[in-house]
Symmetry: C2
Amino acid sequence: MNQNLKKSERQKRIEGQLRENPFLSDRKLAEIYGISIQTIRLDRLEMRIPEMRERIVQVAKNTPTLDKVKSLKKDEIIGELIDIELGKNGIAILNTTKRMIFGRTGIVRSHYIFSLADSLAISIIDAKIALTGLARLRYKKPVYAGQTLIAKARIARKKNNKYLVSVHVKVNQEEVFNAKLIVFSFEDKKKKRGIK
Amino acid sequence: MNQNLKKSERQKRIEGQLRENPFLSDRKLAEIYGISIQTIRLDRLEMRIPEMRERIVQVAKNTPTLDKVKSLKKDEIIGELIDIELGKNGIAILNTTKRMIFGRTGIVRSHYIFSLADSLAISIIDAKIALTGLARLRYKKPVYAGQTLIAKARIARKKNNKYLVSVHVKVNQEEVFNAKLIVFSFEDKKKKRGIK
DNA sequence: TAGGTACTAATAGTAGGTACTAGTACATAA
DNA sequence: TTATGTACTAGTACCTACTATTAGTACCTA
C-alpha cells in the first residue's frame, strides 16, 4: 500500500498516523507499510513511541470523566462563588487559562469576563428564576491568561421584580471590567415567556 | 485488607472500584481483597466485566481528542460562522443545547447569547486583534434549549480603530436579543495594554 | 452422603509486545 | 577491493495480563 517510501518519510507518516489513531498495533502498521514488524519496532524505538497498550493507557489516563468535564466547564465559564448574601451582594473568582484566549495574543476573550459577571449577578438574586434583560458592559483593560479575576456584584436598586445589579471585576486591585445589568426575577408560577 | 467479605458484597465493591479506576488488574484486585486471582476472574465473569486492557480501550475510545473538545467548545460557545464580509458584516448560527440552560427552566443562559454576538462582532473586524470595549445588550425574549440562534452583525460606524458594531439575534424570524458593541482594533505592533 | 457454592490451583494458549542476536542487501569511503 | 554503516528481516527468550478449561478442596445443607 505504502511501500517504497524512504525511512524518514515512513517514520513521519507513522508518527502522524499513531497520533491520530493510537490503537494501531505493530502488526497492522507492518501490513499497511508492507514491511516487517521488526522494522516498525525499530522505527518506534527511534522515535520513542511507546507500544500500543501504553499509548492507549495514556489516552485513557488523560480522559477527563464526564463529571470532570462538566465541572471544569462550569468553573471555567462561571467562576467560583466564594461569598453570597442573597438579595444583596456576592463575590466570585475566576482563574483564567490559555483556553480562554484569542489566537496568539494571550488576551482573555471578553465573553468569559461577561459570563463571570452575568452569572454572579443572577446568583445573588433571591428568586427561583432570574433573567438578564439589559446590560451595559465596559471593558477597561485587557486580561491575560493566568490572571485571576475577582468579581463583586451588588444589587443597587430594586423595583418589583426588576433589579439593577452593578458588577466590578478586578485583577490585582485594578478594575478591568464593570457592568450594569438589569435582571428580572420570576417565581416560576406564571411561566412568563416574555421579559419585557 | 478487605478479607472475609461475602461474595456478593465483594462483587459490589469490585464493580464500583473498577468503575472508578479501570486500570486495576486482576492481580492487584486479588491482593486488595486477599483472595486468589482466579476468584477475581470468576467474579468478573459473573458480572460481565471485561479484562483490564479492554476496559482501558473503552475509556480511551470515548475520549474526545483535544481537537474534538476544542471544536465542541468553539461550537457551543461561539457558534458557526456561515458568512463574513470582513469590515462589513457577518452571520453566525448557534444551536442551543441543554448544557446551556439554567437549572430546570430550559432557558438558555444569557452569556451564551452574548458569546455568540461578541465573537461574531470581533470576527468581522478586519484587523489582527480586536477587543471589545463597551457593550449594550438587550435580551428581549428568553431562548429555550434546542432553538437555533441566527446572529447578524454589521459595522455601523468606524472611526480610526474604533468600530460600532450592531448585532441582532433571531429565533424563527423573531428577535430575541440585540447588542451594540464598541470594538477596538489593533495591528499587533505597539502591543497596547490599555483599551481606553 | 450427595449436591451445590465458594474458592484455589494449574495448564495450554493468546496478543502484543521488549530485548537481544544474527544475518542479508546495498551503498559509500579508504 | 575491502571495510563500514544503513536499512531491513528473522527468530528466540521472556513478559504481562489475560481466556478457557480441568481438577480439586472446604464447607454447608437437604
